[in-house]
Symmetry: C2
Subunit: 749 residues, 2 copies
């Protein structure tokens, strides 16, 4: 696993916040941005705990709280503040070791007065222990004795871009060694206890200072030439989501004592073991002539690990994970449609937990539906702690009018209500978890169905879904969005099926669903073989999008056109009908798929990071394999590409989930009850692919190597495997070798 | 006035926040710290408006709000973020021009890739227009064409060390040019409207962005080699202290339009005219072989100007003025005893306004007294907007116990109640403002007297004042503090006098005051000629303070001893009996003064900035002229000295006021009704002193030059002047020359 590294070879202010995002450490419980220990201009620190949200007043949505900083270090050398910017940096190397969830950072710093200082930083968030974080800093003056002073602790001056969410309830220093800050969110009544301890390699003069929301230890010592000085810092983190508020300080203190007793190396070893286990079980391996392919997939798997709060079914995955303040830490359809499948096919328990997050919020979703005049449940477009609608009411200022614009998504992007139900169905199909379906899933499906029954409008005997926004957010407030209508139809159909299967006796509801299924309008393929994105889309004028595609991701079209103007053109932000083709491949012929892919891709700017990987999948299914691989590679660059600023506010979680979807789609798997069908078409530049997955109690590993397909079932009941027209019965620990790939690839290319 | 400059000759991170404080610009309405435009590590921005206070919850004291930053600029050169730290700085010169209230800042920056960029910054807060601020930045690439991008606007991410006091109510861009942010304090319901406009020397591509509490203009342009690019930025500031909330946006917009129409140079000219007028009227001039003497006094006068809200009698001077968050912008006895005299003897209207601030808060002071079980009024130890006690309940953490320590001053430092009354009396004696005395002063004096009548405790027929803290804050909760008791005696005495003089008929109150005057215990000079600081002080052990005096100002003794331990020793933080000698020189003989000065000075660490200048005065009065000058010089260095951090949180306002007291004491003036007595003993290194002052409708200018004393009355009724045993009658615009100074100096030296 030598290559599980993301490295920064030179110090670059321009990419400071990009790497701050990319190099986030975390364990699903918490995430800490990959910032530098020293304060730097422009640098945005970030430390987040899944589920800790707050707003500063009732008009604002709740947002994930940027917690007190525990990593910052202020150095003074011979009484002068140290800034690495003031001097020359040599031998710079900063690396995120994804294999073990650790950042290392080394460089030689030469001051203007000739001092040569070697700095070495290690940092980790423990994978094996949700509550633990540790760092180690080693400083060596290479060519003269120096007096060193180090200031570090718990800094609650941190805000969410100026919004302060925490009250400093108490700060203490226990046993003249263990710092502890107790904080409470100002309105959501959540407690956070941060404890920190520093161990020094030398006897230091240590003072503790508590002032201005900082609790810091100030240590100073004198060093001889070439004498390394090391500080290890241990941090424990507890919140009222874990335990009763009153026991948190005790837990935090005991934990930080334990950590300090273990020391950095021991903690790292235990954390590394946990990471080893993960990678051994779940790593996708790709041998490609393009190194980015493996890196991007590793990176996606790494982030999908650190962003996912598996430990608590009251939490879900934010669009930006725990890497930044972007989208305020809110949960979107990104989770159910783009990210959940990764977990579902690897750790279905995690997928269940994510669905339970929604199930546990049926009540507020019911309230929201009622408030909008609907029945059943309306999941909010943006969800956080309470399950209420958390979409900000207003977006950025419009400089032409001087006024702020209302955010449309919460008003009409209702497909999320069907998306959540889709994910429940997806979960059930992959796990056959009858208990979940009986106890929770079906209730959710029925409530969602009720919503859509009330959301449709009858016109001339047909049911229409009016005034919605589909996945394509450049087309607002339209009627009969194809994605939405088909999605709703599917959900109603499957709900009906499982109501029968699970002996749900509500005949009235069943009858109403049956009626709706009969009468729900489904946009049909027209004479041009096009599926209309909505009732009016195909009548709108198209424009040349070349200019905007060149700057895709930046929404540059909104600099030239108002949203209202964009709405009246054939301009897509992201996949819409293509999403439909992706989710329901069997509904349309290959020809229809090809035609619609071509048509809509031309009109799609890909200003959303959710777009590329899905287009890659449909390109592949349309037989455009080269284009598919090209789109996959472009999707790999959404966070890892050269744009220095696109990830400043956090990772693109859905895009990472979709990378996994795209890789899996190169295998072209189809699951039909106890048969798994493979039709692999991996990119030509890939000589090897290893792809592990879970399906109905089975752990499977697929490999493609030297033109052959290898399938191994690690555990679980026997399964039928079909590939290249052959059908095999796969028993325990049996390795299946299927040798028709070479031919196939020739056909496909 | 060429020398009215404070310059920084090289860029020094260590002194960043020191110069940020020293180079504050302001006009009494607002103050803006002398920060760099670019963001730098450690740098603390600060922008304050007198009277704008808030707390984030009811348990906290209100603090002066650190307002949205309007000066910050983010530069990008050829697409890369600019930091002056990343490169070489040459020809650095940053200067506070105290003559005109402007900062200029120039340097040449050389990047690692060889780009040479000349940067020039100008900035001012208008003296002639309370609501106006302006800046100008000129950038010139000396050796190659560059693409430049400049980002500046209104940044409401600013906090008070993490405490956010403002809600962003609205942000707008008017006419695609004028940015405006409307903010409201979260609890104190004050509105602030900031408006900003940028004018560029070149046609720029300008975008406006409102996001994350920032409203910024992003301008970009391409420059040829050696082509200067200039941006002028104009800022208008209005608050609900000025006008009704609803008209503020309009006022702000009109003002910023006016400013932009004028341009930077015109605004500077008008502001400079106002500064010229001030300096011409009030500047103290000193020709000394030590240049710091003139600089320090200029600096004191400059800051006493910019910190004083003369425009509103509901505002007073904070201990740190408008230069930092230190002491939360609170008003202490510093104002009445240390700073008010400067205004009183220059602009008595300003002194009156400061007293009215207290008068307008008699009601909360009455409530505070009642709450503590006393009658009359108890002025809070720390006062802000409401007049309630604003002293924080707890100070820093005690690491030995892990607990926070209660702040004692609010509990017992009650001399402030007498100090305010003293200032009222002082004001009346200097102005004979009968209307003020009749309408406000006397009421305040009577309420203060009532307080002290209820605050005293009878023991064996004598009245004692128990459980107080005197000016010396290292001696807490003691009985019969000499300073306090004498001060109270004086206030009662004078109150009685003016009650009679102004025909106050309250015979009962008079009788009670008379009784108290008879029976109030006044610590008497003992057999060792010492005035006991309190009942127990002289019985406590003394320790060698050499070590702590070497680090005076840092409270280093508290690192070795707990406050409780310090309390049981003869250790003074600051002048206490010496303060008494300063305020009541006639109560004690010269011998007693000398003896007590020597005794207490030895035991005083001078950990308070209020101490040095007062000791200088008493040293001088004790005939220790050299020591007096030495102490004066040390007082000059409290802000201007080499300590890089002592002024980080703000200026030492009381010390600046006390510098003026010390200079005036070199003239040794005594005011006896219509006679002014001079007994000048200026330092030997001074060849010239010009000292203007006001006394009872008269504007006087005193000069000492070539051993002669010159006295001129600029306006006002005739006055008697006594010096060196001679008495003169001084009429309109007459210049008096008195020639006995030479002799006298010989005697004195």
């Amino acid at each position: 696993m030598k290559k599980l590294k993301l490295s920064e070879k030179s110090f670059d202010l321009q990419k400071l916040n990009k790497f701050g995002t990319l190099m986030t450490l975390g364990n699903g419980y918490m995430g800490v941005r990959g910032v530098h220990e020293e304060n730097l201009p422009i640098q945005r620190r970030g430390f987040f705990i899944a589920g800790i949200y707050n707003n500063t007043n009732e008009e604002e949505p709740e947002e994930i709280v940027n917690l007190p900083d525990v990593l910052g270090v202020e150095l003074e050398i011979d009484g002068r503040p140290f800034s690495s910017l003031c001097g020359k940096i040599a031998d710079y190397q900063r690396t995120l070791h994804m294999d073990r969830g650790e950042i290392t950072h080394d460089y030689l710093w030469k001051s203007e007065c000739g001092l040569q200082l070697q700095l070495s930083f290690h940092r980790l968030v423990a994978k094996h222990d949700q509550h633990a974080m540790a760092s180690r800093i080693t400083l060596t003056s290479l060519n003269k004795p120096v007096h060193l002073s180090i200031r570090t602790g718990i800094d609650a001056q941190q805000t969410n871009h100026g919004r302060q969410h925490l009250k400093e309830e108490n700060v203490r220093v226990h046993d003249e060694q263990y710092m502890q800050g107790v904080y409470k969110t100002t309105r959501s009544d959540q407690s956070i206890v941060l404890s920190a301890a520093c161990l020094y390699s030398h006897t230091c003069n240590v003072n503790y200072v508590s002032k201005n929301r900082q609790l810091v230890s100030e240590a100073s010592t004198s060093l001889r030439e070439a004498e390394p000085f090391t500080i290890e810092k241990f941090i424990s983190v507890y919140t009222s989501l874990d335990e009763e508020e009153k026991v948190l300080p005790h837990l935090g203190l005991e934990k930080v004592k334990d950590l300090a007793a273990l020391g950095y190396d021991e903690i790292r070893k235990a954390s590394m073991d946990a990471w080893d286990k993960f990678w051994n079980e779940q790593r996708i391996e790709i041998h490609s002539s393009n190194k980015m392919d493996q890196l991007a997939v590793d990176f996606a798997q790494y982030h999908l690990q650190i962003m996912t709060p598996k430990h608590n079914n009251n939490l879900s995955m934010a669009a930006k994970g725990l890497t930044g303040e972007g989208y305020k830490g809110h949960v979107f359809w990104d989770t159910e449609i783009f990210m959940l499948p990764y977990h579902l096919y690897n750790e279905p328990e995690t997928a269940k937990s994510l669905l339970e997050y929604r199930y546990n919020r049926l009540f507020p979703a019911k309230e929201l539906a009622a408030q909008k005049g609907y029945k059943g449940v309306q999941f909010p477009w943006e969800s956080a702690r309470t399950g209420k609608e958390e979409t900000p009411e207003y977006a950025a200022i419009n400089i032409k009018t001087g006024k702020r614009q209302k955010v449309a998504s919460a008003l009409a992007e209702h497909h999320i209500v069907a998306d959540v139900a889709f994910a429940v169905l997806h979960y059930y199909k992959v796990t056959e978890d009858k208990r979940f379906m009986r106890e929770k899933g079906l209730e959710l499906l029925k409530e969602v169905s009720e919503y859509w029954l009330s959301r449709t409008v009858e016109r001339n005997g047909q049911f229409h879904i009016l005034n919605v926004i589909g996945p394509d957010e450049y087309t607002e407030f339209i009627d009969n969005n194809a994605y939405t209508n088909y999605m709703v139809h599917y959900v109603l159909q499957e709900t009906l099926k499982y109501m029968s299967q699970f002996n749900q006796k509500d005949l009235k509801q069943k009858a109403r669903i049956e009626d709706a299924l009969d009468r729900l309008y489904l946009p049909q393929v027209n004479e041009d073989m096009l599926i209309p994105q909505d009732d009016t889309f195909l009548n709108k004028p198209a424009i040349d999008l070349t200019k905007y595609k060149q700057t895709q991701g930046s929404q540059s079209i909104l600099l030239d056109y108002s949203r209202e103007e964009v709405n009246e053109m054939q301009v897509l932000k992201q996949a819409d009908v293509v999403m439909l083709l992706y989710l329901f491949p069997h509904l349309f012929s290959q020809d229809v798929m090809k035609r619609n892919y071509r048509y809509y891709e031309e009109r799609t700017i890909h200003d959303s990071s959710l777009s590329k990987a899905i287009h890659s999948i449909i390109a592949m299914r349309s037989g455009e394999n080269e284009r598919a691989y090209q789109l996959f590679q472009e999707a790999c660059l959404i966070d890892l590409g050269p744009n220095p600023k696109s990830s400043d506010e956090g990772i693109h979680g859905a895009s990472l989930g979709a990378l996994w979807l795209a890789v899996s789609s190169f295998l072209n798997m189809q699951f039909r009850e106890n048969t798994i069908h493979f039709d692999p078409q991996i990119p030509e530049s890939w000589s090897y692919l290893k792809f592990p997955f879970y399906y109905r109690q089975r752990k499977m590993i697929t490999e493609i190597n030297g033109g052959k397909l290898y399938i191994r079932k690690v555990y679980g009941p026997p399964v039928y495997v079909e590939a290249f027209g052959q059908r095999h019965y796969l028993e325990e620990d049996q390795l299946l070798e299927i040798d028709k790939l070479a031919n196939y690839q020739e056909e496909g290319s």
